[in-house]
């Protein structure tokens, strides 16, 4: 019988009631008395010298409160990057200043050039049109390989080149890998593009800055996945506001997918300007602004080589990637193509030798940073595509080739510096074969062919590293922050509980799933437990939600805090029961003395903690509230196997997803309903990347796909029902819940199987197509067929 509460149950989400009735409180729903509105004048050219900015006419226009330019921000810090990567020569990456407002030079379309604060948004925008810019345009740097060439125009004149870093991993293996490739019986080579994407949470970003002169307190309401990170980065590095004078609030947030991790110029601006104009300042991004100011994702150009021996055992992998940073380094940009990408290049396979080279490039484009999966989709895509190509070249079954090379013994230390604690790749593959009905594919293909369609089956595996991350390790790798998390369990006198967590829920359902854990531990109903998140003034600390870390890291902190609470409560119970605390057991909300019928209820113990009349005051303090910080011992390693079946219309090249199946191993699962939902959404984003989404620039650095008119978002009729399964569970060995994380798996695991399926379909139709770059739009597929 499925449980109806606690760990493993799927209670209905409590947050849904407010979202379904229009009662959610998103940042744009916040309006503060006296608030002003800012309109940002954004660059419409990719690269230019700013000779002058004349704001005099604009300043005289109706409703203008104040106009700001780059000069106003000279004295404050730049937007910081949180991760310093060391290149393969031992030198730190090149790190340009990232100004809040462009000063002297424009480096991408959409960069803020001036900000007009007005009584109304329309007045601010009217005035912005009266600002006179004198610019000298410069050639735009767009293509990464051209940017790397000697003599290229530089995005930053004060840097030595457009190369942020040239990273080698593991550098010591470089020669051995080269040799293994020379010696191989067979080498499969694939050049591919991991297309640039725009995360596109449905809620555009919003920032509302407030300043209270009476107590010198700054408040920023913002659409963030991690309010404490914003407080730290903006307070310490940009504006110089100490933590106790800066409150960051992220209320209901309408999706993040990575792009709401980062600290953005608009947040710093609204906080700064609220003090300068002594009134609240509000900015609400339009979708058009979002396309040119939200950090983009992916954008890798890669060559991968897979070496095999005569028996098709993988002997070496070598990859060379150009990774786009855009014009500036966004918060985690530098870590994505390196530590979140190179470390996953072993995949699910026991390849003994691996070398990864990444050249991170500055270009005159919007900064690129983490987007759902962040580095891991790029690793998975190239590896699973080259394996598929190798299977075809060698004439072997792609599933069998994978199985033959699976890692089967754990823990497993990869040649790319990580240790998989646990897993069972055979189990997820077997489960996939079952739920995807791979045995029935031939009959389905025959049916499609009868209807004039080409049908293809694509399969891939994936592994990812979640639960980022052990602080001492990431510190060595260049992270400028610890990556623990924190929780406070506050038990009220009558026994109800508020849990203040550093993780932020913006669709993941923490308000429902986190109480399931506490309920399981204490044995009280879930409705006695509330989760508080998203406000630095209410929660102890936290690094926020990204990298599928919420439950593995913050959930572990919550468990640790709850354990402290329970230990203390047992001491109180022991006192009340006149027993030794070692003999006290807690079950179903009752403390009892082992082997007796003596017991006291949870609520009586909690009341005693706050009304300590009969209480061991000499030994323990009154009250019942504990905080824990949890720093993970290792990453977690969710893994799985995915299958996609497509039909291709040979007349038009249009690809239709007919079936999609996902078998995941997430370790223990707290709420299966929510986990499945996370996988569904990830798959849709992965299919979107594979078939639809394409953030494109022209050679002048103009963003071509700058709205939903040209950037194809997956819609309901682009997608089928999915078949997802997470019954294969090898619990994580090093966190208390045995959980691994599920937020990104779908987006990581799905693109290769879609491409593999399309290639399979075309091959079945006699077209010798070995690769099509994503997105596989109808026109690209048609052209590939025509050129085959």
């Amino acid at each position: 019988m499925p449980k109806d509460s606690g760990i493993g149950a799927s209670p209905k989400r409590r947050e849904d009631v407010r979202f379904l009735t229009g009662a959610g409180k998103y940042t744009d729903d916040i309006n503060i008395y006296g608030q002003t509105y800012v309109h940002f004048l954004r660059a419409d050219v990719a690269h230019a010298t700013i000779n002058s900015i004349d704001t005099s006419a604009a300043a005289a226009m109706p409703g203008v409160v104040q106009i700001f330019t780059g000069a106003d921000f000279e004295a404050v810090g730049g937007i910081p990057c949180g991760w310093q990567v060391t290149d393969r020569f031992g030198e730190p990456m090149q790190e340009p200043r990232h100004p809040v407002i462009a000063h002297g030079t424009i480096r991408h379309v959409g960069e803020i050039v001036a900000a007009v604060v007005g009584e109304t948004l329309a007045q601010a925008r009217d005035a912005a049109e009266a600002i006179v810019l004198d610019l000298t345009e410069k050639p735009a740097v767009v293509d990464m390989k051209a940017a790397a060439a000697d003599g290229s125009t530089k995005v930053h004149d004060d840097l030595t080149s457009n190369i942020c870093y040239d990273w080698g991993f593991v550098e010591e293996n470089r020669d051995a890998v080269d040799q293994a490739i020379k010696d191989a019986a067979h080498v499969t080579t694939l050049e591919l593009v991991n297309n640039r994407l725009v995360a596109n949470p449905m809620e555009p970003r919003v920032a509302v800055g407030e300043y209270s002169r009476s107590d010198d307190m700054h408040t920023l309401h913002t659409t963030s996945q991690n309010p404490h990170v914003i407080r730290l980065l903006m307070g310490a590095f940009v504006l110089g506001i100490p933590e106790h004078k800066l409150r960051v609030v992220a209320p209901d947030v309408g999706g993040g997918f990575g792009t709401k991790i980062f600290h953005y110029a608009e947040e710093a601006f609204c906080t700064f300007a609220a003090k300068a104009v002594n009134r609240p300042v509000k900015w609400t991004s339009t979708r058009s602004e979002a396309f040119m100011s939200d950090a983009h994702g992916r954008d890798h150009v890669t060559k991968i080589e897979l070496a095999m021996d005569a028996d098709n055992n993988f002997t070496a992998v070598r990859t060379e990637t150009y990774a786009n940073m855009g014009a500036y380094l966004s918060t985690f940009a530098s870590s994505v193509p390196t530590w979140l990408h190179g470390t996953l290049m072993a995949g699910n396979y026991k390849t003994p030798l691996i070398y990864v080279n990444v050249k991170a490039m500055f270009t005159n484009t919007v900064p690129v940073d983490a987007y759902r999966g962040a580095g891991r989709p790029e690793a998975t895509f190239q590896l699973e595509r080259v394996i598929d190509k190798a299977a075809r070249e060698r004439g072997v079954d792609p599933i069998a080739l994978r199985r033959q090379n699976f890692v089967t013994e754990f823990p497993y230390a990869t040649p790319v510096a990580v240790e998989y604690d646990t897993g069972d790749y055979e189990a997820t593959m077997a489960k996939l074969e079952e739920i995807a009905d791979i045995g029935g594919f031939a009959a389905r293909r025959a049916e499609s062919e009868k209807n004039g369609k080409l049908r293809g089956l694509g399969v891939n595996c994936y592994i990812e590293a979640c639960g980022i991350a052990p602080s001492n390790l990431v510190g060595q790798l260049g992270a400028r922050a610890g990556l623990y998390d924190a929780a406070t369990v506050r038990v009220n006198a009558t026994g109800s509980i508020s849990v203040m967590v550093g993780a932020h829920s913006h669709g993941q359902g923490h308000e429902t799933s986190f109480p399931q854990v506490i309920s399981e531990m204490i044995g009280i109903p879930e409705d006695q437990i509330d989760i508080v998140h998203g406000d630095t003034s209410k929660i102890p600390f936290g690094m926020g939600t990204y990298g599928s870390r919420s439950l593995a890291v913050c959930g572990s902190a919550m468990v640790r805090a709850a354990e402290k609470v329970i230990n203390k409560a047992k001491k109180i119970a022991a006192h009340l029961l006149e027993a030794s605390d070692a003999d006290i057991e807690l079950k179903d909300g009752q403390f009892s003395v082992a082997g007796t019928d003596k017991s006291v209820a949870w609520g009586d113990v909690t009341l005693a903690a706050y009304v300590p009349h009969n209480y061991p005051l000499e030994d323990i303090e009154p009250g019942l509230e504990e905080t824990a910080f949890y720093d993970p011992a290792n990453f977690t390693y969710p893994a799985g196997a995915y299958a996609c079946e497509v039909e291709v219309d040979p007349d038009t090249g249009k690809v239709t997803i007919e079936r999609f199946s996902a078998a995941d191993d997430f370790g223990n699962v707290i709420n299966p309903m929510i986990v499945s939902g996370q996988v569904h959404g990830g798959i849709a984003q992965g299919v979107g990347q594979a078939l639809l989404e394409n953030c494109a620039y022209d050679e002048d650095g103009q963003l071509i796909s700058a709205s939903y008119m040209d950037y194809a978002m997956p819609r309901a009729d682009d997608l089928p029902f999915y078949s997802v399964d997470h019954s294969c569970q090898t619990p994580c060995t090093h966190n208390p819940l045995g959980v691994k994380g599920c937020g990104e798996a779908g987006a990581i695991g799905s693109p290769p199987s879609v491409v593999n399926a399309v290639i399979d379909a075309l091959q079945s139709g006699g077209k010798n197509v070995t690769h099509i770059d994503m997105p596989m739009s109808p026109s690209r597929v048609w052209e590939a067929m025509n050129n085959a």
């Binding site: 979202f19 409180k25 744009d28 299966p672 709205s707 939903y708 978002m713 029902f721």
Partner: protein, 161 residues
Amino acid sequence: MASVSMTVNGREVSGDVEGRTLLSSFLRDDLRLTGTHVGCDTSQCGACVVHVNGAAVKACTMFAVEADGAEVATIEGEANADGSLSVIQQAFQDHHGLQCGFCTPGMVMSAAALLKENPTPTEAEIREYLEGNICRCTGYHNIVKAIMAASGQDVAAIAAE
């Protein structure tokens, strides 16, 4: 400025608006009915769908003055009179048809319009009808399932959870 009057969720309201004031901003900024969301500026995402005289429209692509005299229904008026969730809202909760909640008001309003026109839509009809409502979280699986369930169809055979 022009004055407009309309009925919103059964209540008479009025206000002074500019010609360029969109129905979405009249609802959000003047009436403080912030359940109607704005997710794009090209009339594609559908987070702002409301009903005007019974028909689903994108409130961000209609001027407030054009709704003068109209009956407007928003997400805030969808629940039952006693505050309990409507059949459609309940189905969305039962089948996890929402995650971040931002597209949800538009989805529910579109679903309500669909079921009024077509009380028992097929999966394909639902997917086609939702062409103008973009969700980035759910991959649509549970939205489609919820709407089928709300129309009384048996969804047990659709992948569980």
